[in-house]
């Protein structure tokens, strides 16, 4: 779409609403340093985000914040992995308008297949580029 970093703030989402104004993002990853940096980067962009370190914690966050609409999750995590989280959230919050973006370390075929089987169409690969994330969020049309 040829958007710039500055353009994110300016460009309104359909219906005039901006994602960060409407609801916070939920970032799920087992790496604390990664969460640290991405939340800071999103804050610079003016995007409000919360984080969880695994699938189970993410489910708890979804319960706590009913206005979360976008979940960005790593696939490989201890306890409950990203795909399991997608399935669990679909089950528990079926009536909510939830969107998922999965991030995978090596774009392994099996991981992508599982994500697609779970109905996730947005897959990003690590190392994550902020522009890619921004583009993916915008493509959700939320």
């Amino acid at each position: 779409m040829g958007m710039t970093a500055a353009g994110l703030h300016a460009s309104p989402l359909p219906g005039g609403a901006r994602v960060n104004e409407m609801s916070p993002l939920l970032i799920v990853d087992d790496e604390p340093e990664y969460l640290d940096e991405i939340l800071e980067a999103l804050a610079y962009e003016g995007i409000e985000a919360v984080s969880a370190s695994n699938g189970a914690a993410a489910v708890a966050m979804l319960r706590q914040y009913p206005d979360i609409r976008v979940v960005v999750t790593d696939i490989r995590m201890p306890e409950m992995d990203g795909i399991a989280l997608v399935e669990a959230a679909r089950g528990e919050f079926g009536n909510r308008d939830l969107h998922f973006i999965v991030v995978t370390g090596h774009a392994a075929k099996s991981d992508l297949e599982r994500a697609r089987a779970a109905g996730v169409r947005n897959c990003l690969s690590k190392p994550l580029a902020l522009d890619d994330l921004r583009r993916a969020i915008q493509s959700l049309q939320v």
Binding site: E31, E40, G105, L128
Partner: protein, 707 residues
């Protein structure tokens, strides 16, 4: 060396051969017992028969002498009896003297005396009666006839010194009764004692033989032995008491008078109160057959000597035969040895070297590679000489040699050929050095194994790559975001602290990445040849660094238990690490498989345990076990898991090399790799011989040698 030989001989003499010496002594005694025992019995029988003969002779002599004595006494007795009968009781002393003078008196009778009923001398044939009559009432031979209980018959007195005759005499006395039977007095005949004794003396056959005339009162009347004597009292001696009670009895005793051992006979007179003893000196009796016995002993000695010589001949013959047989055996053993060694030398890749004090010689094919030269050099080295000096049995070792930049791994079997001393269990002193060394070049086998290992590493590399990509992308992602944030912060004029924190984070993440990459090197490196002592825990830690993250990501928990600070194993650490990685991946695969069938709620767990097994006093076994909870391996499969290219995984996922290569690596380290099903899953156990600190020090000394 001479001293050592002497010491060895001495120890043989006092230690091992004591039994032998004792055995010889017993055999010698048994051999000699036959002739000398017989000789002893013969001489003993001879002595007894001599004694019996002496006894019989004594008995005979005693009877003769007693008879002779009785014949001597009888005329004296009848003389006294007749004289008394004819004597008128009213005769004056002078008349009595005259009638005494008229008597014909035998020579040994020195005096005939007539005593009145009160014991006073009436007359003696020696002198006419003048002056007061002499009182003899106190003399025994008078008093026994006077009194209420007079002696009947002839009385034979003890030897007494005559008051009138002044000579030692035996008094024969009889009571004098008149025609009416009235007691009138006593008539005495004094017998010269020396007549008896000289007679008996003349009868003696040896200087110590004894002829004694003893009264029933126990007083010796006459005794002829070494010296002539009389008057001794033997009434308390047991042989005499025995002789007194019996008509005749043998005598075998030590004389109370002169202390000589005698054998003989007592004979008691039935007519007179007298006992005759004849006895011979025992030593004299024994000496009679001395020559006979001497002859017996000499014969026995000669016989004993002949037997001994025969026994020694038999023994030495036996020894000789044994020696001949032993040397024949040794010769055939040598022959077999030579054949065996030649056969061994014919096996390809085996080099057989015979080592003696003179040097080393290769047996069989002497052409070929560098190995024989290396072995010749090695067996001449002081280290080899010292290590094999006291070798008593075969010894197996692995040595590494380097030549012209090439490294060789050689397995050596060293066997001593010297005879082993049966007592000291060591090579006999002074024996020549004699060893055989079998050398097998393992270098090509090692290279082959290394290649297989390399293949398996590449196979695991594929499996590990997925996990590693994630591992590397993770820090990379953090670095990218941190750099982006730093840049933004710079543009926004954030304080320097912010920038500092970002840069530090970037550095940290790069360190993390380089650590991961370090571990990747294992997959590209060729394994070394040498075994080095290392802590088995290092291999476990290293393996977890490579696959730990991958396992965590797959939600498999890993626990490590046990460990020991001071134990080491002799290994190639990267290979051991690879084995642990293979086992962990195998466990992970099993867990994955089980999760697929059971579901997400199943929690995979792997536990690694290090323990020591003490089998005996030597170094312990180090056991590293990897246990999963994936339900175990089916029975029909468990025996095949170590076969190359055997796999239960879907095509394209397993190579079938991991476990078989692991098995080979551990076997190559002198250990074992085994598998069994435990409670919840399979347990793979690596067992390796451990080293303790002391051995470790020895190994370190051993390693930097010139080979």
């Amino acid at each position: 060396m001479r001293l050592a030989a002497i010491r060895a001989q001495a120890s043989q003499l006092f230690g091992g051969s004591l039994n032998l010496a004792l055995k010889f002594l017993l055999v010698f005694l048994a051999i000699e017992a036959i002739p000398f025992g017989t000789a002893w019995v013969l001489t003993e029988l001879n002595v007894r028969s001599e004694y019996r003969e002496a006894e019989q002779s004594a008995q005979k002599t005693a009877y003769i002498l007693l008879h002779n004595f009785e014949q001597t006494v009888e005329p004296i007795d009848s003389l006294l009896l007749n004289f008394a009968h004819a004597l008128d009781p009213n005769s004056t002393p002078t008349e009595v003297y005259d009638s005494l003078r008229a008597l014909s008196i035998p020579a040994p009778i020195v005096q005939v005396t007539v005593v009145d009923m009160k014991g006073f001398v009436i007359a003696s044939n020696l002198a006419p009666p003048v002056g007061d009559p002499i009182d003899l009432s106190d003399r025994e031979h008078i008093s026994v006839h006077i009194g209420s209980n007079p002696h009947s018959g002839l009385f034979i007195s003890k030897p007494v010194l005559g008051r009138i005759s002044k000579r030692w005499t035996i008094q024969f006395s009889r009571a004098w009764y008149d025609q009416a039977g009235e007691f009138r007095g006593v008539i005495v005949a004094s017998y010269n004692i020396f007549d008896f004794i000289s007679f008996y003396s003349r009868l003696r056959v040896d200087p110590n033989s004894l002829i004694a005339l003893v009264g029933t009162d126990g007083v010796v009347r006459a005794r002829a032995a070494a010296t002539v004597s009389f008057g001794e009292t033997v009434s308390s001696s047991p042989p005499y008491i025995k002789g007194l009670t019996q008509a005749e009895t043998p005598y075998d005793a030590r004389s109370a008078i002169d202390g000589v051992d005698r054998i003989g006979y007592f004979v008691r007179s039935e007519r007179y109160p007298i006992i005759m003893l004849v006895a011979y000196d025992k030593s004299y009796v024994r000496s009679l057959a001395e020559e006979f016995r001497l002859a017996i002993w000499i014969t026995a000695g000669g016989l004993g000597l002949i037997l001994l010589v025969l026994a020694l001949l038999a023994l030495s013959y036996h020894r000789l035969q044994q020696k001949v047989r032993a040397s024949a055996l040794r010769e055939s053993a040598r022959q077999r040895e030579v054949h065996f060694l030649e056969a061994m030398a014919g096996v390809p890749g085996v080099c057989v070297v015979h080592v003696t004090a003179e040097g080393s010689r290769q047996i069989g094919d002497t052409s070929g590679n560098a190995l024989p030269a290396l072995i010749h050099e090695y067996v001449a080295s002081p280290r080899f000489v010292a290590a094999t000096r006291l070798l008593t049995g075969p010894q197996v070792s692995v040595e590494y040699f380097a030549r012209d930049g090439e490294e060789f791994e050689v397995q050596l079997m060293i066997a001593p050929l010297e005879e082993i001393d049966q007592i000291t269990k060591r090579p006999s002193e002074g024996m020549q050095r004699d060893l055989v060394v079998f050398a097998v070049d393992q270098t090509s086998k090692r290279i082959e194994e290394n290649n297989l290992y390399q293949m398996s590493k590449l196979a695991s590399l594929g499996e590990v790559a997925t996990g590693l990509a994630h591992e590397i992308n993770q820090p990379l992602g953090v670095i990218r975001l941190a750099a982006t944030n730093a840049l933004t912060g710079l543009q926004k004029g954030m304080p320097n602290d912010h920038m500092e924190a970002k840069l530090n984070r970037i550095i940290q993440q790069t360190v993390r990445m380089s650590r991961i990459i370090d571990h990747m090197r294992i997959f590209g490196r060729k394994s070394g040849m040498r075994l080095e002592p290392s802590d088995p825990m290092d291999a476990i830690d290293g393996a977890l660094q490579v696959v730990g993250a991958q396992l965590r990501l797959e939600n498999v928990s890993v626990s490590v238990n046990g460990g020991s600070d001071d134990v080491r194993v002799l290994c190639r650490q990267d290979q051991l690490e690879q084995v642990v990685i293979n086992l962990l991946q195998n466990a992970r695969d099993a867990i994955r498989e089980r999760r697929r069938s059971v579901g997400v709620e199943y929690l995979g767990a792997i536990s690694i345990e290090m323990a020591l097994e003490h089998l005996d006093t030597r170094a312990p076994l180090v056991c590293i076990s990897v246990k999963d909870n994936a339900g175990g391996i089916p029975d029909q499969v468990i025996e095949k898991v170590f076969q190359p290219f055997f796999t239960t995984k879907p095509p394209g996922q397993g190579t079938g090399l991991g476990l078989s290569v692991s098995f080979g690596i551990i076997r190559d380290h002198g250990g074992t790799l085994s598998v069994e099903n435990a409670f919840e899953g399979a347990v793979f156990t690596i067992r390796l011989p451990g080293l303790h600190e002391a051995q470790l020090a020895a190994t370190r000394q051993h390693l930097p040698a010139d080979f």
